[in-house]
């Protein structure tokens, strides 16, 4: 399967710095997004560290396939899913250690949502309240669970979804990279189909843009980079209260299909690589 991808990150309309960070590693079909938190510039440091560490560990898979697997795994997981999950554990350790060694970085942390595609296999690893969505057959499905207090309260029936949207506790996370020496990472595998679209985003998008709007934009604009830009622009129209990052990957049919040449125009990758907050 062919993958077309694009992404955008935007500071928004309220904040002066962008603590979000993302990276698309095209040769690997690896997509990583992180939203940092912490005073001064430390959110930027944390998210950049998170993305960099995950990308590096995944890139290193070929050269060093036998690297130790960290954290619990499922017996049926592919080597990639184990690698990706391990990479998130490593990123957590790195941010935690850095915050421990530099007292001024105390309290810094980051979310991390990463997808890695190999053939029809999708590996996901996730911590925090950034999200991964799958658009399939016009239906949008959130693949990740928000590790936030309000999301947890909704799952337990303490709050309704509407109450959660109104809550001023939305920014309280239950899990984030860098908050503890060891953390739990959500990891999963799924099978992808032609015409599926994956979207990763920071909460700067989902706080102000609804899921039907996300689905509608993905269906109306098939160019991933342009669709990401449209969604970020929509979030800004709504006040852009936080940094906005959107990464989109579209699964296309193999190029050996007899009509594949028709699709070639959609395979360009505008804004395929973006990284904010130091390297």
């Amino acid at each position: 399967m062919r993958i077309a991808s694009g992404g955008v990150t935007d500071v928004g309309r309220v904040r002066t710095n962008n603590e979000d960070c993302f990276k698309i590693v095209e040769p690997l079909n690896l997509f990583v997004l992180s939203d940092g938190m912490g005073g001064e510039a430390h959110g930027e440091i944390a998210s950049a560290m998170a993305v960099e560490t995950v990308v590096k560990h995944c890139l290193d898979m070929e050269a060093n396939p036998a690297a130790q697997v960290i954290g619990p795994t499922q017996p049926n997981w592919s080597a990639r899913t184990k690698r990706l999950s391990t990479a998130v554990h490593l990123a957590n350790r790195k941010i935690f250690k850095s915050a421990e060694e530099n007292p001024d970085q105390h309290g810094m942390g980051a979310t991390l949502t990463a997808v890695w595609i190999e053939g029809a296999k999708l590996s996901i690893a996730h911590v925090g309240d950034s999200r991964a969505y799958l658009l399939r057959g016009g239906s949008l499905l959130q693949l990740t669970r928000d590790h936030s207090l309000v999301a947890e309260q909704v799952r337990r029936g303490i709050l309704t979804a509407a109450e959660a949207e109104e809550s001023d506790m939305q920014s309280v996370l239950l899990r984030a990279l860098g908050a503890q020496a060891e953390i739990e990472v959500d990891a999963e595998e799924h099978t992808l189909f032609p015409r599926d679209a994956l979207l990763l985003c920071s909460d700067g998008l989902t706080r102000v843009v609804t899921e039907p709007e996300i689905a509608g934009t993905l269906q109306a604009e098939t160019n991933p980079g342009k669709a990401a830009e449209k969604l970020a622009a929509l979030a800004n129209e709504r006040g852009g209260p936080d940094n906005i990052t959107v990464v989109i990957a579209r699964i296309e049919k193999d190029s050996n299909g007899w009509f594949s040449w028709l699709r070639r125009g959609a395979r360009k990758n505008p804004g395929s690589n973006g990284s904010v907050g130091g390297n």
């Binding site: 939203d35 938190m37 309290g107 942390g109 029809a120 309240d129 799958l134 399939r136 057959g137 016009g138 239906s139 499905l141 693949l143 669970r145 207090l149 947890e152 909704v154 799952r155 337990r156 029936g157 303490i158 001023d168 506790m169 920014s171 309280v172 996370l173 239950l174 899990r175 984030a176 908050a179 503890q180 999963e188 799924h190 099978t191 189909f193 032609p194 909460d203 209260p241």
Partner: protein, 241 residues
């Protein structure tokens, strides 16, 4: 500060103050005021301040919330009132100053709340304990829970029955589909069934499936016994023992 006292045999078992955030009452240990009794629902009721008045709200509990022996869904509380939940009595002390209302006070009370934050170690430990308790209760529920199953009634498929073990299920001709349709002119992906937090949802693929004879207009939550029709195949969605 106003407070609630959980009484049993006229003795105070536990006291909690009612501050700016709601006090939750129920059997589950993650409540602010846990009441360990089978007649009490996991999340039974909550007490909070609204416009300067203390309010109790029943959270659709099985056995109900009573204020001074009157069953209520929602009621204003006064000093000296008694809330009855199961066999337990909760004494209301509304004599202290009402807390700063949640709405107007939130910015002053939590100045950095719009900055993303992670709960500190102690809070996190509590949350993790709750999460662990929840995990156990879910496993417990799992042993009683029924298995979501698709049974093929008509049409050609690679199996007669499918247990929905994955979050994402595809019905179609594709080699990667869970429910593989056989025969000419079948779509690669006819329809999909996805697990969300609150159940299994049937959604369209290349075809619009029908449930109990009616074409769906968007993702539809499936109920036990629903009859699904798509691409000349009829399936029964069941929660099996």
């Amino acid at each position: 500060m106003p407070k609630l006292s959980l009484m049993f045999d006229n003795k105070i078992v536990k006291e909690v103050s009612v501050g700016t955030r709601p006090v939750t009452i129920g059997r589950s240990p993650d409540n602010d005021l846990p009441v360990d009794n089978l007649a009490v629902s996991n999340h039974h009721a909550k007490v909070y301040y609204e416009a300067g008045r203390m309010v109790v709200e029943d959270l659709a509990s099985l056995n109900g919330t009573f204020v001074n022996d009157l069953r209520v869904e929602r009621a204003t509380l006064h000093d000296g009132d008694n809330i009855h939940i199961g066999k337990h009595r909760i004494k209301v002390d509304a004599s202290g100053d009402a807390p700063v209302p949640w709405d107007s006070g939130r910015k002053a009370a939590a100045p950095r709340i719009d900055e993303t934050m992670v709960l500190d170690t102690k809070e996190r430990r509590q949350m993790l304990q709750q999460a662990a308790a929840m995990g156990e209760s879910m496993q417990f529920a799992g042993t009683r829970m029924k298995v979501p199953t698709l049974v093929i009634l008509n049409g050609q498929t690679d199996q007669k029955e499918y247990v929905l073990t994955n979050k994402l299920t595809v019905i179609g001709k594709s080699a990667m589909a869970t429910v593989k349709l056989k025969g000419w002119f079948k779509p690669q992906m006819a329809a999909q069934i996805n697990q969300r937090d609150d159940g299994f949802y049937l959604g369209p693929g290349d075809k619009v499936p029908s449930v109990n004879g009616t074409p769906i207009s968007g993702p539809l939550r499936l109920n036990n016994g629903d009859l699904i029709e798509v691409s000349g195949v009829r399936l029964n969605f069941l929660f099996r023992e």
